[in-house]
């Protein structure tokens, strides 16, 4: 797909032309199809940070919720290393309304908390895949204003806030 080749600036323009008055109320994350011999669904976390700096707020984390035993699914959450530092490690997991199972390739839409005060934010989505890579995508957006979009190169497709 051309999705992975689009420069980060282009989806922004595209989003600008498509978007009806944006509310910045939801995020759509694309988990790309990756053709490799050994594919595991990625662990993905998304969070918002105030653009001016401040506490990160996790809005979703997808991991192997049901994996138990010596190496439970939670063991690998630290591989989402930026998310882990920014707040993952202080969550009590599984977290109600945040934790979810890993997703197959495709597009998924998650609501952004309705109680975020108006202002400028950065949405961050981080993906890490067993035997694969890790990628972090940032999308600046405004609550009560415009959304935005950006694309990863390998582990994440388009991430759109609208």
């Amino acid at each position: 797909m051309t999705r992975t080749k689009i420069l980060p600036a282009l989806p922004l323009l595209a989003a600008g032309t498509i978007a009806t008055p944006a509310l910045a109320a939801s995020v759509t994350v694309t988990v790309p199809q990756i053709k490799v011999a050994e594919y595991h669904r990625p662990y993905v976390a998304g969070w918002v940070e105030p653009a001016a700096g401040g506490n990160a707020r996790t809005i979703f984390v997808w991991y192997d919720l049901k994996k138990r035993g010596n190496e439970p699914g939670t063991k690998w959450l630290a591989d989402l290393r930026t998310w882990w530092r920014k707040g993952g490690r202080s969550l009590n997991l599984p977290a109600d309304g945040l934790s979810g199972a890993t997703r197959a390739p495709g597009s998924y839409t998650v609501a952004i908390p309705a109680n975020l005060p108006k202002g400028d934010y950065v949405l961050k989505v981080e993906a890490a895949r067993e035997t694969g890579g890790r990628e972090l995508v940032s999308v600046p957006f405004t609550v009560g204003g415009k959304g935005g979009s950006a694309s990863g190169k390998t582990e994440l497709g388009t991430v759109t806030v609208r």
Binding site: N70, P72, T74, K75, L77, R81, T82, W84
Partner: protein
Amino acid sequence: MRFRSILIAAAASSVLATPALAHRMWLLPSTSTLASTNEYVTVDAAVSNDLFYPDHVAMDPAQVSVWAPDGTEGKVENPSKGRHRGTFDVALNKAGTWKIGMERTGVMGTFKVGAEEWRVGGRGRPQGPGAPGGPGAPAGAGAPPAAPAGTPARPPMRMVPTVADIPANATDIKLTESVTRNFVYVTAGAPTKVALTGKGLEFDPITHPDELVSDEEGSFRFLIDGKPAAGVKITVVPGGKKYREAEDAQELTTGADGTVKIKWPVAGWYWLNASAEDAKPSDKKASARRMAFTTTLEVVAP
């Protein structure tokens, strides 16, 4: 005994020698950050030329202690000492930051009996007082044992193993206390502050050692006897020298407030050594104190 003397020599050389010449002692945990308290970390321990290649001698896991985040003692599991590397496991079954490592204290130096200079501690075969040629024996009482034909006779090694062996008639006693610490920090869940002892040279990190990122400077404070230590020499060396042309060591010094800021050229494991000297040994017979602190830090890509 031979192993121990090599270690002491290594510890001493890390303080004295220029860093490029030193055999470096290191502990390398399999990771610095764990997601839960059901997990283990495996730690490698060795003294080597290059970091972190075990190419010289193993460090014995028997010398290692473990402190849980609440200050209680943890356990060293599955210890093993190979030719080049010691290794052991630690179950991080409590949330927070664990401290793993060792502290070694020794007193070394010289004294004179008559005109002859003797050494205390260090490398070589110890010779007790009263033994033929020992410092307490009458001069000329014992000749060195006859050497096999063909080998040149070695002069007697003028050395005693410990301070307690210094004879009463010794003069010009010059002793240095050396305190060598080597600790690594591993965190399960969220990082916590590691308690300080207020004694000797200590690492009092401002940036937590388990939250280092390659695009942010690390900021660390060093204390001596609980007070900020200015002028502490810091050497920082990235691991994996085999994959680059030069060692790329950074030589830094702590400022007036005892802090040092470190930039990381790349993500990866780093070896950090701090050293300082003063004239406040805890052993009354010594006149000087040499302190060294070593740690291994994991710096991740942002």
